[in-house]
Symmetry: D4
Subunit: 219 residues, 8 copies
């Protein structure tokens, strides 16, 4: 009774329902996954799933004969067969620092799950601009770019200035003090003086990936 | 000396430079437009140009034989020949209320300037959901959607739930009190529980249009 | 000495005093409950009571021969006989997602405790608007509606647009990043473009239920 | 084309559409009023209409033979016959200080427009509690209360402690400095330790009146 | 080397130095206490000392033959002989709810430590105004009042309206959601429409007591 | 009908009612003044009265034979005979910079109006600490101090460290950018590491003076 | 009486007093300038002086035979002989866009006034990174850099990554919506992931110049 | 793959890369240190390294024959030979209270690591101004000053008023309530009315030290 699953959405939007794992019990997650598979969906993604809860969900699903792959960096649970990459081009995921990795990987793994080829350029923050310029070709070759950065979030602007494709910016909560839990990066990205940038919620690697995948699958 | 114009950007990013009109004098704007045309750009767009300054710029440009079209609702100045619509599909601009019109038109006119066919669905806010559902077909047919709303900014989530294409949300500063100059709508849109939504700055109809156009021109 | 109990309030406002459990010790709570029963109140409700403290309070009360029922989802402790539903109509509690359950249940259980018939429509968030439209009849039949949602909080506006009765909106702290602990949903609800909406504090399912019950008991 | 009027809403929600006057031109407002009357609505209310724009709208409507009454304190424009008071009881509007008058009157006049008998108790802020206690009987006799206050917004809590009916609180932007344009009063009201209080947007006398009227018309 | 003790301050301001316990190690606190006693101060107060650290400090001091009294509700450590009450009148400490007790007791115990007679009126929040009015005589008899309240912080305004002496208001972090950790109460108190109110930091019972004691010792 | 004047307050709190001039019309102010005088109050103070409105009020009062003195720096209107200084000591008003003058004068003139001897030490901000140290004797001799500062608001802490009497701090809105309209100074003052400081609202010279006067009149 | 001029500061800190022009009357400014010259200072700088007030000050000073130079872009008034550039190296002032000019010029002119050689690189925002890279040599050759940018404020990070000297960042209030009056740029700069960056207040070109000059004059 | 180490930076900016330890695993940190040493850097500094992680990193590095010194107060890990002090003068680190020690030591130890002589003046907050004035000579003798303070952050202004060298201010998160995690001190420092102050992020002792070292090494 606690969930009203929207099984038509897969058909309508081109992807199956995705489960937001935070704030749900392992029993609720396993229950929703099971009912979605019974409704004939082939793949389910669970986001924001911490390690302990993932173990609990896996155990519950295993009892019903269902296997769930878990990525502890990206904190994603994936049920069902991998999808063949059927996107039109490559999605580039860039991130500013090593500390942004969990969010960058949430984006990259979600992109792969949704059928995209992914190019990763990590730890190329703007303070060492030559590291980023070394990626100029990959930036120009991408069909969509997901730009992940915390602290001052300047990466999105510089990348967008070099790119001719849409850039989806993901602020992260990396930082301290005046980073205000990612709000500094969020504001910076919203104020980007470069054209072609839009923004998703702080740490929302999944959301950026989802939209990037939509764009990469347009024919 | 006051401006370092980036004339290569047209070539590099697929569009010519756009001038942010706020905070510049009429002399500065006319000067930048002129130097861009001299550098062989065919079209220039000036955003955030209020009526009085527009008149001043027009006059200065006219002295040099350059005509500028001005749209007082969208507060846009446009120099050069109109571009033929060469986008792949239609971009739908939806807005919640009549008071959102200036931002919606900034988006729509910019889209047309950048070579897109535009479908306008205005004043279809979520408080009268049947008005929005009446647009369901147009929502499904769009290649990209720009969703413009102030106050609680709920429009983006409902539209994205009905759409299968990317939705670029534009919060507006329409409202009072706890709307905090558009921050309420901005936060709502960033927290959209619908997939496929990304967000630009408050009242930045131009920015949403720019990214929507990039998406609509991908082959 | 630590509490000045207001036993006249039951007579005056039509309900007995309710205890805010957070920030009180188990000894304080058990003491207040006991003195209220001694002052001849028939029922006591303790809100925001976590599981561990509830166990402590139960033990202390049991020593005095008093039984307390505890609901771990709603985090409510209830002492005294159940009240027969004597409200005039049905109160509908709608919530956007499974993660909003604790707040929705705090509202629903409080409503029942205060003598109301409750209809629950859970997990009907606006991103899948057809799930919500499927509840249109129940929305029209309600005498009061409590609308519970986190993230962008858009549910209240859409429900109020479909309803002709008062809607009391409860923002929840569900979400992350720019949800700012529920402030995003709070602001959205305060800016609702739909008529007939008022708002209570973030996660305050109790407060919404209390007012809804007042309305449902007006003759 | 700039407005999608929802004429069914009158039928559905029991009142005709209300026009939010801020951010619309006089031409837009007069146009919407006219089309609503043509769609057979008997009364139209325009809120947030400043004096100068009201004069412009009146002139445009007069040209079409339509008369609009204007209240400069409440900043309301009213078209159509007055409605007979058909609410079940009296709605009490209390306000803390003389400076809150415009918002209190927006509430009171809207309530009368919607068919309610209104009792006004103005300038009874909590710093002189005996002034408020002198209203204790009127507070107990009301069927719904609209409590309007700026600065620290304490009025709502004290009134709700004395009342046994629902209290709808309206924070106002009266004050300076740390009143933060009404945010201080808004937060205070949301945190009311009294039961039975819900809150609307800063300065939204209209919104409180609308919900109060719904409650006062419940049978 | 880590502390530059200001032993002249006792002479200058009429009280010995007070130690802020948070963010210091038990070794640092015991060291500062010892050096202050060696510099011939007769009493030392340690504020914001949690239970565990207090035990550690006590143990270290005991090794040097120094006894420290600890109050776990007020989280205060007190070294040295009690001071005889030598203030001119009585300081009234009022608080709104049982959850405000720790802050109210921090004020009351500090006041006693600084030589004041204290009258405590607890749990007299404004939602049950008659409980507060029952204290009217004690309010009028006080020489200074410390008013402690969280949530909407309305207590200070009502008390100041009844009093003819200075009221020092202490907002507390009691509450949740839109209480923003006490910021709501702080803003309310700063905006008090009653005269004679000044405010200290959130949860700063000590600071209010200190100033109240200064006032109560003026000849 | 627009005002419920509390004429008993004079008797009760030792001063007559003070009128907050902002947000009231000249007719309202003149009306309240007149009714207060008719109720036998001897003096009336009107705060936050800008020059233009003051002229209007004066004219209206003059028609009734009432004279109002107006101080354009302090923006105060004063009706009635000056009060003889009957406070016990001197109140020192210190301010940090010349731009804080209007607020400092609002305090100083209000203090004089309420019967206090005032010592003014202006433009002694902490950046030139020797200017402030030159006032050390006056600081020690004061019975109460009102410390007025904008920008970083450090003055209150340094003064309180030098004083042995209560310090009432008034943050001002002087500054720009990160001064956030006085919020920076307000927060600094609330966090003063010096003992004996309490704070009033931004720019509220009146409120500080009122409390300082209460303290200075205690016997 | 309104100003306590600190004429020793010139001797002590190596520069004469500087007058903050905002919030002072023209009479106050002229008075302070005059008294400083009488106290034998050779040069006076007045900041934040708008055009109209500058004219008034000039007139007043001229009456006393004193000439003031006024720069309307930088909003600076300068009295006294120009100082010969005696700094050790060159200070580079970079700014992101044409709209940042007033702040950049406030810095540049102040630097010249304080005896520094200035190199200006304007309109080199990060969205067109190659424009900035074209300045790489000038960045390396500077002894100190003042980096001025609004919107997302990314310029400071990129410049600091290329520089080996201190960078003083000045956020500007250029932008709209989520730029929050310069707070977005301020936060970004405080969170710079590049080493060697410190920050001054929003729009405080003067403050950055002052510190840069101190550094450039160290021997 | 997780890190793109910028080994050229050492050459370019005069120091080797510094590792931000927060948000990285011990394996990542040890890996980066190792690769930097392999790239022939002689010294590596790891900041924001808590005790437990430091132990893990030490163990991993020891396995490769690399020793890391760890300072638990400053939370710094240091690899490689100590650098001889080669700065031109002395850098003075002042801090307001004992609770600011961790940040002050982060600055002081980083300064020593980067080759500076350091003078420490701790616990000299402005509430006891004479303690600070006792340091006046050391303040005048410093070549650069790092001023560390939480709460109201006034130290920076007073120190800068006494100094004739650049002051780099570090706000700390010491405090509670309205200190807002250091934001109060940050805002105060940004609004310093003293000349010559610039500011780094809350608790960023490292950042201040880095810039101070650059200044102290300028020839
Ligand atoms: N309304 C707008 N909002 C945000 N960015 C804009 C806007 N108009 C122009 N821009 C961008 O601002 C940059 C030009 O800035 P400027 O050199 O100051 O004219 C270009 O990258 C534009 O694409
Ligand atoms: N003062 C007001 N505050 C909030 N909402 C209002 C106000 N006045 C009208 N509305 C609502 O705004 C909606 C109309 O918006 P619009 O279509 O922009 O005129 C209606 O649902 C009205 O009930
Ligand atoms: N400048 C002021 N700031 C804060 N409160 C004020 C001010 N001036 C008057 N008041 C208080 O506001 C109340 C009067 O409000 P009102 O009835 O609206 O005139 C009285 O209690 C005054 O003492
Ligand atoms: N505590 C710190 N605060 C701010 N920046 C730092 C800190 N420690 C190191 N950094 C900088 O962060 C960058 C390294 O980031 P990362 O590649 O994630 O290790 C370098 O530019 C460092 O100088
Ligand atoms: Mg790195
Ligand atoms: Mg409409
Ligand atoms: Mg769901
Ligand atoms: Mg009044
Ligand atoms: Mg109670
Ligand atoms: Mg001065
Ligand atoms: Mg440009
Ligand atoms: Mg100390």
């Amino acid at each position: 009774g606690f969930a009203t699953v929207d099984n038509q959405r897969g058909a309508r939007t081109g992807t199956s329902e995705i489960i937001y794992g935070a704030g749900k019990t392992k029993e609720q997650i396993a229950g929703i996954v099971t009912s979605m598979l019974e409704a004939c969906q082939r793949r389910v993604l669970v986001t924001r799933l911490d390690g302990e809860k993932a173990a609990g969900v896996s155990e519950l699903l295993a009892a019903g004969g269902i296997a769930m792959e878990y990525d502890p960096v990206a904190r994603l649970g994936m049920v069902g067969d991998a999808k063949e990459p059927d996107g039109l081009g490559t999605v580039l995921v860039v991130c500013a620092g090593t500390s942004d990795l969990p969010v960058a990987e949430e984006a990259a793994r979600t992109l792969e799950y949704l059928g995209n080829r992914v190019d990763r350029a990590y730890d190329v923050g703007v303070a060492g601009i030559h590291r980023l310029l070394a990626c100029e070709r990959r930036i120009r070759d991408a069909r969509v770019i997901v730009a992940v950065a915390g602290m001052e979030g300047a990466l999105a602007s510089v990348v967008a200035g070099l790119a001719s494709c849409p850039v989806i910016a993901v602020p992260t909560s990396v930082g301290y003090g005046a980073s205000l839990g990612g709000v500094a990066a969020l504001l910076a990205m919203l104020n980007s003086c470069a054209n072609g940038v839009s923004v998703v919620n702080i740490d929302n690697g999944f959301g950026a990936a989802y939209q990037a995948s939509l764009i990469n699958h347009m024919k």
